[in-house]
């Protein structure tokens, strides 16, 4: 890739975080469509954050028919950080998440998870197993399954087809689901279909699915859109409580919400980082005011 020695091309065991036995041969076979070159395999499940950064994007460019949705994007997020990303519509925020989670392949640039895991070589499933979870901009839950079943499927577990045939929830997993249900305040709706939830409740269910999945990094695309003020405040509280244990990257347009939770804010504009810093710095940056906050 960019030839920097500390970013050796290696692949993490895709089921590293599932608690199942480690078997590189099978792991390689089970990454569908993975065109990765299986070089040196690092200790499974270990995300090397010895240099502080857990996510590191450098020179990332994504073009759609010549239009650059991301243009030489550089971003570094520290382990345990709560990073807010803001920017006008079409700035490339969602596209950036697509690149990190393997949905979109960048035309150029590098994307690293810790020091060693090159995310551009992994597919969506492998990236999820490596420890990156994602909430979509449009809330996406499994509408025909119950709230409980949504969380059950999200739960950190062996997710291979054969294991699913005989999978049974044990007491500990049930407790875990109940705890998440309490956190997202959906215990009463647990056994109804997820499709019947309100917009805000779907947002919370999706956040709950992320919690059940127990990823290292949570990517949250407009998590409070469609929520009441009360719900928004509770979500802010939740995110602040997760900070430190997890790394959170939050994309939002709701500036009050950003104000409540933000440490570092990154402003994206036309696929590029326009400004970065704490809320006050960013808010007073004339370029930011011009393209985004001023209007």
């Amino acid at each position: 890739m960019n030839g920097t020695p500390q970013y050796a091309p290696v692949v993490a065991h895709p089921y590293a975080l599932t608690g199942t036995e480690y078997d590189p041969g099978r792991a390689a076979g089970s990454v569908a469509g993975g065109d990765a070159s299986y070089g040196r395999v690092v200790v499974p499940g270990e995300v090397d954050v010895s240099h502080g950064a857990i996510l590191y994007l450098e020179g990332v460019t994504v073009s759609f028919d010549g239009f650059r949705a991301l243009n030489d994007l550089n971003l570094s997020v520290d382990d345990g950080e709560l990073r807010c990303i803001i920017g006008p519509n079409g700035a490339g925020k969602t596209t950036m998440m697509d690149v990190i989670t393997g949905k979109t392949r960048p035309d150029a640039g590098t994307v690293y998870f810790g020091q060693t895991i090159d995310l551009t070589r992994l597919n969506e499933v492998a990236i999820a197993h490596a420890g990156i979870g994602r909430k979509f901009q449009k809330p996406t839950v499994f509408e025909n399954l119950t709230v409980f079943e949504n969380l059950e499927l999200a739960l950190k577990a062996d997710k291979r087809a054969r294991a699913s045939l005989l999978a049974k929830l044990d007491g500990e997993q049930r407790d875990r689901i109940d705890a998440v249900l309490a956190t997202i305040k959906l215990a009463d709706a647990a056994h109804g279909p997820a499709g019947r939830l309100s917009h805000g409740q779907k947002q919370w269910l999706e956040i709950g699915m992320l919690l059940a999945q127990e990823p290292r990094v949570l990517l949250l695309d407009e998590p409070v859109a469609g929520m009441t003020d009360q719900e928004t405040a509770e979500t802010a509280e939740l995110f602040l409580s997760l900070k430190g244990k997890h790394t959170l990257i939050v994309v939002e347009h709701d500036m009050d919400f950003i104000n409540t939770i933000a440490g570092t804010v990154t402003v994206l504009h036309e696929g590029h980082v326009l400004a970065e810093g704490d809320m006050a710095t960013v808010q007073n940056d004339p370029r930011v005011v011009e393209v985004y906050l001023g209007r």
């Binding site: 949905k103 839950v141 499994f142 499927l153 997710k159």
Partner: protein, 356 residues
């Protein structure tokens, strides 16, 4: 969350009664003499046996369409492949009793072939024929599915390719030198495991096996769709990319249920051929496969029981109409499909007001 039940007590009672009635039919065919009020004629037994085989196909269709959201318009191919595989064995059982009194089937003598082609090897063994019944549709489905699902071919594109697949296979099987009897296919069977194929006892056993098969796969599929595997399939159907970001690779799930579905069709085809007495390439016609989807839609997708009913209702109506008003049948079928699509999103099952 309470224990998941396969069926409610009421459901189990109904299940046992229906299976018992199903098993009573062949007994009455053999033991109640003609003229007896409870006599079941060979015609009735064959007709119901045939419909039961179709019901199994509709059930298999429901696994992929109802649960995994994959609409196949080529399931007739898998049914026919199972039928042909078992038909090869039945052809070998004819022995020298054919027109030409040769060791070879008549159509090979007619083609002036001196020996069986290599792929007929071992087909005189019953067990090998059973292996083929499972392996041929299974392997075809697996290979096709692997390429299609890996390339993430979905929706209507997938459906069209399956139509093309069964159409291509039909053209291949129509050719005489493919070695499967051309457009006549296989027929005039004489024996199965040495027993005369048209004897009441043989018919009765084949029918009872079919009842057991349909009942068995209903329970098995019910179990499978209530397992976590089934819930992951539903998740893939509702939001495939979400499922991937949660950490499930859709490929083995889709491929697994797709291949299973094809094998279930193949076995149904193998049960069909000795009862109906013929298999020919028209089973692979695109229209046939579309009809399978119609049975499933009319019965109610994603309910397993619904498609069984759908196959029964449509084929029952078909056998009546094609005798009484043959010209009307296609219109009636079309009307049933339109009504089910517009007014009964859950098919007959929705009408019965029962949840899956």
């Amino acid at each position: 969350m309470t224990e998941r039940r396969l069926f409610s007590p009421f459901g189990w009672t109904l299940f046992v009664i229906i299976v018992a009635l199903g098993l009573a039919m062949p007994l009455l065919h053999v033991f109640a003499p003609e003229g007896h009020p409870l006599h079941v004629s060979a015609y009735t037994l064959t007709l119901v046996g045939k419909i039961l085989c179709y019901a199994a196909v509709a059930l298999a269709m429901d696994l992929v369409w109802g649960y995994a959201g994959i609409l196949s318009l080529g399931h007739g191919l898998f049914f026919a492949l199972g039928g042909y595989a078992f038909g090869m064995y039945l052809m070998r059982q004819i022995g020298r009793d054919g027109q030409y009194q040769s060791d070879l089937p008549d159509f090979m003598v007619f083609l002036d072939w001196k020996d069986y082609p290599w792929y007929w090897a071992g087909t005189d063994h019953f067990l090998w024929a059973l292996v083929l019944v499972i392996a041929v549709p299974g392997i075809v489905a697996f290979v096709f599915g692997w390429f299609a699902f890996r390339s993430r071919i979905k929706g209507v594109y997938f459906s069209i390719i399956t139509q093309a697949l069964t159409f291509a296979a039909m053209l291949l099987f129509f050719r005489n030198d493919t070695g499967f009897g051309g457009n006549n296919g296989f027929t005039d069977f004489k024996r199965i495991l040495g027993f005369p194929v048209a004897a009441p006892e043989t018919r009765a056993v084949l029918f009872a096996l079919t009842v057991a098969y349909v009942a068995g796969i209903l329970v098995f599929c019910r179990w499978l769709m209530q397992s976590k595997f089934g819930r992951v399939l539903a998740a893939i159907r509702d939001a495939e990319s979400r499922t991937m970001f949660v950490g499930y690779d859709p490929l083995p799930y889709k491929l697994g249920v797709w291949t299973l579905s094809a094998v279930l069709c193949g076995i149904a085809g193998a049960l069909y051929v000795p009862q109906v007495g013929i298999i020919n390439p028209s089973e692979m016609s695109p229209a046939n496969s579309i009809e399978i989807a119609i049975w499933t839609a009319i019965g109610g997708r994603g309910t397993l029981i619904g498609p069984l009913l759908g196959a029964g209702i449509v084929n029952g109506a078909k056998s009546w109409f094609t005798v009484s008003f043959p010209d009307l049948w296609l219109y009636v079928l079309g009307a049933m499909f339109v009504i089910a699509t517009l007014f009964l999103p859950r098919g007959v099952m929705g009408l019965l007001g029962r949840k899956a």
